[in-house]
Symmetry: C2
Subunit: 407 residues, 2 copies
């Protein structure tokens, strides 16, 4: 596996474009389109929220009922959630606009939206946006990057990743872009992820690979514990690498899942580190837990604790809050047995052992916690299971962004 520069246009046969459609933001790009030269197998995972946005309903139906997809249209600014029958109609109309402009069947057009809930999309602007993007579609890395920029809301950086690997002598690429902050626990501004690959693989295995991988990647990210109505990850595989189609869980499938996992992990960490107002990526690694599920629960509990997140912002080695967050996670353990460490590129320090603080240097701990990526390592001393979760610190700017998001 080789890490390469690029995003959704890295894989063969995928083009992208972006435009400033003026949907809600002014003077910036706010619409993007991804098009595969040939019909691609499609897979998707969606929010578990009871309240589901129109594009989520649209995509779930298409991914489930249709064998292929060819295009994805994304807008930032308005979420098209809580918009009733009118909202569903706009998904249909968006797909029809693509059909009309690019001769791609409407039932092969996926849609995604992010932004304010309860506002209707300005359909005319969307249609004009699609017409503007159609002639600009390109397979360049730059066009992929423009798309990654266009889908941002409160994100401060575009998020892209790509890798290549070999299957039966053919070079296969997996690339992707995303915006927002988490799948189970996303920022209201919604986690949207778009992945493309030129691998030939059956639709069933594609869906399974995606469903399995989000559990340990996007689902382990939390910015503020809220789950959006719009969270969506879509994965298209167009087969243009020319490999024999993967139809079983063989060595080639394993290589693909490894590549997919790399891209998803990279994107997940970018989201966590770019959480609203964040100044640091806050990682929690749980090792030696008694089960995988417990390891995940413990790691998530720590990165979701507002008190711990505020302490990370303050570069404060408040191990008591970490212990406390482990303690209310619902997982049973012996607080006297576990051990806690802080680590970053500035070093590693043990802060808790035998039921109480070690004799660590506060100064050293603060130095370690002052890096832009900080890890809490939790050794449960119980078994062999492990998990990693990613979050960010809780800052003044998180409050500022969310106190006046709509204004």
């Amino acid at each position: 596996m080789e890490i390469i520069t690029g995003g959704i246009t890295a894989a063969k046969g995928f083009q992208a474009a972006a435009t400033a459609a003026g949907i809600k933001y002014q003077n910036r790009m706010d619409m993007a389109m991804i098009v595969s030269q040939v019909p691609a197998a499609s897979a998707g995972t969606f929010t578990t929220n009871v309240v589901q946005a129109a594009p989520v309903k649209w995509d779930r139906k298409l991914v489930t009922e249709e064998s292929h997809a060819r295009a994805v249209v994304v807008n930032a600014g308005i979420a098209n959630a809580c918009t009733g029958a009118e909202g569903m109609e706009y998904c249909q109309k968006t797909a029809e606009a693509v059909e009309h402009t690019l001769k791609i069947p409407a039932n092969q057009v996926l849609v995604a939206s992010t932004g304010v809930i309860g506002m209707q999309l300005p359909m005319e602007k969307l249609t004009l946006g699609i017409e503007a993007m159609a002639p600009q579609l390109e397979d360049s890395l730059e066009s992929g990057h423009q798309a990654a920029c266009a889908i941002m809301t409160t994100d401060t950086k575009a998020k892209e990743a790509a890798v290549t690997f070999q299957v039966e002598g053919k070079t296969v690429t997996v690339g992707g872009m995303c915006k927002g902050s988490g799948m189970i626990h996303p920022n209201m501004c919604t986690m949207l992820g778009f992945l493309t690959t030129d691998l030939a693989i059956s639709k069933e295995l594609l869906q399974e690979a995606l469903r399995e991988d989000i559990i340990d990647t996007y689902n382990m990210v939390s910015v503020d514990g809220d789950t959006s109505t719009n969270d969506t990850v879509l994965l298209l595989a167009n087969g243009m690498a020319g490999n024999p189609e993967i139809i079983q869980k063989d060595e080639n499938y394993r290589k693909f899942t490894e590549a997919l996992h790399y891209v998803n992990t990279a994107l997940a960490k970018m989201m966590a580190g770019d959480g609203e107002g964040a100044t640091a990526l806050f990682e929690t690694r749980v090792i030696h837990a008694d089960s995988k599920e417990h390891a995940r629960t413990l790691a998530k509990s720590v990165i979701c604790s507002s008190l711990t997140k505020a302490a990370i912002f303050g570069h404060d080695a408040n191990w008591g809050r970490i212990l406390c967050a482990l303690g209310y996670s619902g997982v049973k353990f012996d607080p006297e047995a576990i051990e806690l460490f802080f680590q970053s590129k500035s070093g590693r320090i043990q802060i808790y052992k035998d039921g109480t603080a070690t004799d660590y240097s506060e100064e050293e701990a603060t130095r370690i916690l002052s890096e832009p990526e900080v890890t809490v390592l939790v050794d449960m001393k119980m078994g062999d299971a492990k998990a990693v979760a990613w979050g960010c610190d809780l800052t003044y700017d998180y409050v500022k962004i969310n106190a006046d998001y709509r204004s």
Copy 2:
């Protein structure tokens, strides 16, 4: 039932004192003591965190194994949590200091601590504090108020409440004080509650009344979703009202539970409104849910949502975030059927109906949300169950307080 001024000394035969013991804070009172003239039946509820502070272990044992208690010693500043065997020893020594000073058996002395985790208590200062408080014990309202002040950490106001009611011609009083912010979801600075009554009641019924009532009072408060290692509510009943002992769930028991519920609700609301950095008490009332448990879950989900809390701080009528928080609570419902309202003393406004926003005035909504007590009313349109939860807004000051709590 009559609401009266007072706290833990309102009921007959209860004395209190406070002192500046210099445990961690300087130049303020940081220790309090409550003493009953006669042995009192005791009841307690404690944190569900796996990590439990030494005083929690001490009190749980005494409340379970001993028939009576006579004193409670509380300190602020150091939590005596994650302090190993030494921490347990300090509970014992504190009780022995009371035995030595006031001739109260050590096994009738409850203890409670709140503050920083992992630091050992300065035992000598605690002993001196007990010796200083002993001669100052008084049954005046002022001494109760001093105690309520002494147990505060990041609280900005002392929290006290009391009521009287009649049982067989005798006037019975229930009073209490608390500090912190919630039982299931408390601020790390810990929720501590102390209740006293001169009612004569069996220990079993006393415990049952307390256990039942915290579910709809303290357990419906959340400031930041974190659950402390030290959360404790203690209730002492010394029988000095002279009523015939309540030994069954009769009309007199019902009167008592009503009085207890009033005091607990009043204290719970004070805690929520005084959440760290809060500028507003944020209440969520769920009505017409299909079960009591679902009503509680839905109400809690809304008051725990960081995004909603930040919107309340910004006086922003962001009903989408409320709907979203209901949606990820885990309770199934039809988003098209429910209705949402904002209300405060400035009025009431319907903001959501039939799956989308009503045509409400943003200006009016902002005016309603600018009051110090704001309610979201959620009509689930499913059944007869209801619940209320209390939280606060998420502010810059919450971050500030928790980024540098230990410094």
